[in-house]
């Protein structure tokens, strides 16, 4: 009786998640295997034609799939490097002086993505601050906006706070005695970092990069506002197919492909991390 009374409140959230998450996602899978005719609702036929269209047409493979994989992986790696430096610096500060930097990172994270992209655009547009600075130091004029580089910069900038925040906690929690121990046996700063700090901060690295990668693989606002229609990523393509073309089955096929791809890359990444560090532990 008591057990029932405490579990009853679970019913509502459960029903909610099943009804509004699992049912729609299954629906999307079914839609991706339905026939498409302009002007009429999709009819489920079990066809794999939409997947075949996406996965065999060089146009989709090169413009959408390859761009998506390349930009999302590259931006995650860059965000990790930049974010790690900042997180390390903040974590090494005495606790009472971390506040300002941490809160600015949190504010940046909590400002709308559209607004941050807008700020980046003003900075990167031709005649903007970055453009003028590059001209001033004598660099040849380069176009950043509406190119892959521009989209990459956008993806990195948006992803950095997600990498920094979990890392601050993890790096700050590392026992300083471990570093002192490494130093006492003659390890220099770099050796200590790679042998002690970095391996111990891996949970934070994994947490941050997973969020960054999942977000960037499905990026939508950044390519559409910074790519100027020239840089096409899969999330954006699925949106256009559904809302502009009205081709729901093809949009669904792109969406499901993107989901599977992102889960697959995540799995490979986790597997590689696990293996590398298990062998490293065996070796020592």
């Amino acid at each position: 009786m008591v057990a029932w009374a405490t579990r009853a409140p679970l019913f509502l959230p459960f029903a909610f998640v099943i009804l509004f998450f699992f049912v729609p996602v299954c629906w999307l899978v079914a839609t991706s295997m339905s026939s498409h005719e302009v002007g009429s609702a999709p009819v489920f036929t079990g066809t794999l034609a939409h997947y075949a269209r996406f996965w065999t047409d060089p146009f989709y493979l090169e413009t959408a799939l390859w761009t998506t994989v390349k930009l999302s992986v590259l931006s995650t790696v860059l965000a990790l490097i930049i974010g790690y430096v900042l997180a390390y610096y903040i974590a090494e500060l005495p606790p009472h002086r971390r506040g300002f930097l941490t809160s600015m990172v949190v504010v940046s994270l909590s400002v709308n993505i559209v607004i941050r992209i807008f700020g980046l655009n003003v900075l990167l547009m031709s005649g903007g601050l970055v453009d003028s600075a590059l001209t001033f130091i004598g660099m040849p004029k380069v176009r950043i906006m509406y190119t892959e580089i521009g989209v990459l910069i956008g993806l990195v900038q948006i992803a950095i706070p997600y990498v920094v925040l979990p890392l601050i906690g993890v790096i700050a929690a590392i026992d300083p005695a471990l570093k002192e121990a490494a130093a006492s046996v003659g390890a220099n700063k770099y050796k200590t970092f790679w042998a002690v700090t970095f391996p111990l901060s891996l949970p934070g690295v994994v947490a941050g990069t997973l969020i960054a990668f999942t977000l960037n693989a499905a990026a939508f606002a950044i390519p559409s506002l910074m790519g100027g229609g020239r840089v096409r990523m899969m999330g954006m393509m699925a949106y256009e197919q559904a809302t502009v073309q009205g081709n729901f089955p093809f949009a669904a096929a792109i969406g499901i492909s993107l989901t599977i791809l992102s889960i697959l890359i995540t799995a490979i990444y986790l597997f590689a991390i696990n293996r590398t560090f298990r062998t490293a532990r065996k070796a020592t």
Binding site: V2, A5, R7, P9, L10, L12, P13, V17, I18, F20, F21, F22, P24, W27, L28, T31, A41, V85, Y88, Y89, P94, G99, L101, T102, S103, M104, V105, V106, V107, S108, L109, S110, V111, N112, I113, V114, I115, R116, F118, G119, L120, V122, L123, Q157, I160, L165, I168, G169, T214, A218, F220, A221, L225, Y239, T243, F248, A251, G255, I256, T259
Partner: protein
């Protein structure tokens, strides 16, 4: 400039050092920090421009900041965003409560099912979840409405309160609840007068997290927003697709100020540790 600010800090902290040079790490960290905050400063700077958009601004004025507050369309968008965020965050926090509390007591298999069903949505990119909800709604009703938008927002915000509440329940002593029920309190009474006060920080943090996620959401809203009731991010997005004017920078600046205030409240209430995942 980086060098000077960082090195003066060091002088304050350790007065023994004379004329300390900034370390390579300090410089690199400063550059990283600039990359993180640059867009925000640019937006604020651009809002103070008199004529066209530039950063740094050439002639300062507060004209656009005032104009943004009287622009009916943007004020409306902000009100819709606020309402949706408040409703979605409340619902998702209420839903997260029993889930997080059960996670603590449940046998391992049940706990696994619970985690999978409530954290599972994080595995599917939010654009794809939005697409699936959108295609169901379009198939069933032909149009989308505000109710569907709120459902979408509840779904994407729910993992945050589940996580923050689970984090505080881990430190909860079950003996306290047992004590309450042993003196005859029913489960509801125990929950309200014993459990809830103890997990309050997690509940508040989860609510604010959910609120901020909803307020900032773009990918769910772009699919599920009804034409006539657009939340602020979508309004800004559509405006940016066609034109760049200081007005939009001013609207954005107000939104940045709002975000900063919410972060400040979170800091005062529960500390910024909720973001860095450290328990004080």
């Amino acid at each position: 400039m980086s060098a000077t600010t960082i090195s003066t800090d060091k002088v304050v902290s350790s007065r023994k050092m004379r004329l300390p040079l900034p370390t390579a790490l300090g410089i690199a960290a400063f550059c990283a920090f600039v990359i993180v905050v640059a867009p925000l400063f640019v937006v604020v700077g651009a809002a103070l421009n008199a004529e066209a958009m530039f950063f740094p601004p050439k002639q300062l004025t507060l004209h656009w900041m005032v104009a943004a507050l009287t622009d009916g369309s943007f004020v409306n968008g902000a009100l819709i965003s606020f309402t949706v965020a408040a409703v979605a965050a409340t619902v998702s926090t209420i839903f997260a409560l029993p889930v997080a509390l059960q996670l603590r007591k449940a046998p391992p298999t049940v706990a696994k099912i619970l985690t999978l069903s409530f954290m599972g949505p994080l595995l599917v990119p939010s654009v794809i979840f939005a697409l699936s909800l959108y295609s169901v709604v379009i198939y069933a009703f032909g149009v989308t409405n505000l109710f569907v938008l709120v459902i979408g927002h509840v779904m994407i915000t729910m993992p945050y309160p589940v996580r923050t509440i689970t984090a505080v329940t881990e430190n909860l002593d079950p003996a306290l609840e047992d004590a309450a029920s042993s003196v005859g309190a029913n489960p509801w009474r125990t929950f309200v007068s014993v459990t809830l006060p103890l997990i309050k920080p997690g509940v508040i943090a989860g609510f604010l997290f959910a609120f901020i996620t909803s307020w900032n959401d773009f990918s769910i809203s772009v699919f599920l927003t009804p034409r006539e009731l657009q939340p602020l991010p979508i309004k800004i997005y559509e405006y940016l697709l066609y034109q760049y004017r200081p007005l939009i920078a001013a609207v954005s600046t107000w939104s940045v100020i709002g975000s900063a205030i919410v972060v400040l409240i979170i800091d005062r209430l529960v500390g910024l540790n909720v973001f860095t995942g450290r328990r004080s």
